[in-house]
């Protein structure tokens, strides 16, 4: 019976928290702009095949490297011009949004899940388990992330899936460390002791009792990782180790376009701009999230 009362008040608390959160979030103009751009990006990705004027892989062989429409030689059908094999830039950019969002989501999901589990285990059990796990995390963190991701991709073979796995592995220690620190902090608190006394099992303690209370820093880290994942996967693509052509991943498009840097500015400029805008939007959102979730910064 007590269960139900707890639940109701839980929901009420949650609603109030959400309201409060939205209040702070919406006060940050940048964050709202970021959110709008991000939502647009998501919509673009979802409805890519409806919005895109052309098939992103269709090669118009009579229209190689056509400049954007406002420039001399531009053609009506190709708003942002075409690339070296006559594919419509705009359509490729639109479809590229799918890759970036997909990469961000998958990387964060893998890194977050892995990191949380590892961090919970380390923080909860402590002792040698903690020591070993944290030493391993130290090893991973000792390498510059892009370098380690590069080596990992080289091991797994170049490609989108492997690039995502590699980036997730490289990011995961950050989540593990955060979770562990939060767990260590929370473990001694009264409510945990109370739950323990009430006979809650280890798993229940870890996931149901402690975890929800350390979510805030994790959410902030997750947004940060989302934008870094988009950047790093583009960098891998640029170095030829990420998504492989003809995929319209933005970094890969840049890599293919590099040889045209002097001749066709549009094939170089637009993909990079797309990366910048989406990363910026996510970071703006991340800032807003942090401000809204972190009470200390909120006050100052």
């Amino acid at each position: 019976m007590t269960d139900t009362t707890v639940k109701i008040s839980d929901a009420a608390i949650r609603r109030r928290m959400l309201r409060e959160f939205w209040f702070y979030f919406s006060q940050n103009r940048g964050a709202v702009i970021g959110l709008v751009v991000f939502v647009l990006l998501v919509l673009t990705a979802i409805f890519a095949s409806l919005i895109a004027p052309h098939d992103p892989t269709q090669q118009y062989r009579d229209a190689l490297l056509v400049p954007p429409i406002w420039q001399d030689g531009g053609r009506a059908g190709f708003l942002l011009g075409t690339d070296a094999v006559g594919r419509d830039m705009l359509s490729r950019l639109i479809h590229g949004a799918q890759y970036s969002l997909f990469i961000g989501i998958v990387v964060v999901a893998i890194a977050l899940t892995g990191g949380i589990i590892i961090g919970l285990v380390a923080g909860f059990f402590g002792g040698w388990v903690d020591t070993v796990i944290m030493r391993v995390m130290d090893v991973v963190l000792a390498f510059p992330s892009l370098l380690l991701a590069l080596v990992l991709v080289a091991v797994l073979g170049p490609g989108l899936t492997n690039a995502m796995i590699a980036i997730a592995i490289v990011y995961q220690p950050h989540f593990a460390r955060l979770t562990r620190a939060a767990v260590m902090g929370e473990k001694a608190r009264e409510y945990v002791t109370a739950a323990k006394v009430a006979g809650a099992g280890n798993l229940r303690l870890m996931f149901k009792t402690i975890l929800p209370n350390c979510l805030a820093p994790l959410i902030v880290q997750a947004t940060l990782s989302f934008s870094s994942a988009v950047l790093d996967s583009a960098a891998l693509g640029f170095l030829g180790m990420g998504a492989q052509p003809p995929a319209s991943e933005w970094g890969t498009m840049l890599a293919e376009a590099r040889e045209f840097i002097l001749r066709a500015w549009w094939v170089v400029t637009f993909p990079g701009l797309a990366i910048l805008v989406s990363v910026l939007a996510i970071n703006l959102m991340g800032d807003g999230l942090r401000d809204a979730l972190d009470p200390k910064l909120k006050r100052s």
């Binding site: 510059p144 992330s145 370098l147 590069l150 170095l239 840049l254 990079g272 990363v279 970071n283 910064l297």
Partner: protein, 335 residues
């Protein structure tokens, strides 16, 4: 203090061993075969293949290779490159100054601009300066630097012709490499134009490499300042009637610098990752590009020892940061 340092150093040992394992293990997992890569389109006969593999020690079980590698490592032998056949350490030392020079100049640019911008932004919180500089910082933080580099090349080298396209100094100048740092060596050479030439070559790559650290430092400085300015002692100082400038200079700034210094130190890893991209774009002869090339050529000894050296450097710098932190903030030491 000494014990503190010793403890920290000992702490690094298991991590170093882990790093050798990772470096060695990953490399053995790499698909593709250096012997075949050397043979190229032509192919290599099975007998010849076995012969070369034996010569390189690749016919032995992996654990034996690892033990052998560790043994050599302890004697300071990092192996020889499969491609150039030269000692890895020699190659590293030949290229390292170029990367250090680039990274140092980048971090100096980032600090010299980032810290004042962050301080001013914090003091004038909410002003147009704060808004513009923090928006700029966020753009910098979100920048795909490989694209940024290309744009700068198009603009400054291509359209305007102000900066050279790549390299470390004009080929006109030829002087002994005393320190390996082009800026210093060019001054030592006594040649008038040499220093200017070195600077003009360094400016674009270092600006590109500085972009992200600059953004991070500016943001971190601002929030550290804000935090400190909200602390009681600053308020007290202000209440006591000290001039705002003095309060900021003496109290706020000094305390805000503690997390900022840590942030600057932690940029080493970021710089190393950035160096890979920057060096690739600007054909900068440093270790970032060297690593990329070696990975694609399956130059096992270079990749594994290169990883090791880079990780060691990152760790040592982090240790130094830790120690400085301990010095400035004695509370940490006794924890």
């Amino acid at each position: 203090m000494f014990r503190f340092i010793l403890k920290k150093l000992l702490y690094l040992v298991p991590t170093m061993i882990g790093i050798t394992l990772v470096a060695f293990g990953f490399i053995r997992l790499l698909p593709g075969d250096p012997v075949l890569l050397m043979a190229g389109e032509r192919g290599v006969s099975p007998e010849r293949y076995a012969q070369i593999a034996a010569q390189l020690g690749y016919d032995k079980p992996v654990w034996q290779q690892y033990v052998h590698y560790l043994g050599n490592l302890l004697q300071g032998d990092l192996g020889n490159s499969l491609v150039t056949k030269k000692p890895v350490l020699d190659e590293f030392l030949a290229l390292f100054p170029a990367t250090v020079e680039l990274a140092l100049v980048a971090i100096i640019i980032a600090t010299v601009i980032g810290v004042p911008v962050g301080v001013v932004a914090a003091i004038k919180r909410g002003s147009w300066f704060d808004q513009i500089s923090m928006t700029g910082a966020l753009v910098g933080f979100s920048m795909p630097i490989f694209w940024w580099g290309l744009l700068l090349i198009i603009l400054f080298s291509g359209v305007l012709g102000w900066t050279p396209v790549s390299g470390r100094i004009s080929l006109m100048y030829f002087f002994p490499q005393v320190t390996g740092f082009m800026l210093i060596d060019s001054l030592l050479s006594g040649d008038e134009g040499a220093f200017a030439s070195a600077v003009s070559h360094l400016i674009l790559p270092s600006v590109v490499l500085a972009t992200i650290p600059l953004a991070v430092i500016a943001r971190q400085t601002r929030s550290a300042m804000l935090e400190v300015m909200g602390e009681d002692y600053v308020r007290t100082a202000r209440a006591k009637g000290l001039s705002p400038r003095r309060v900021i200079a003496v109290h706020a700034l000094r305390n805000a610098m503690i997390p900022v210094i840590t942030t600057i130190g932690l940029q080493v890893g970021v710089l190393m990752a950035g160096a890979i991209l920057t060096e690739t774009i600007f054909s900068w002869p440093g270790i970032g590009k060297w690593m990329i090339d070696s990975i694609s050529r399956r130059d096992y000894p270079v990749v594994q020892s290169g990883l090791l050296l880079i990780a060691a450097i990152v760790m040592i710098v982090n240790l130094i940061v830790d120690l400085t932190y301990g010095l400035i903030n004695p509370r940490i030491r006794h924890k």
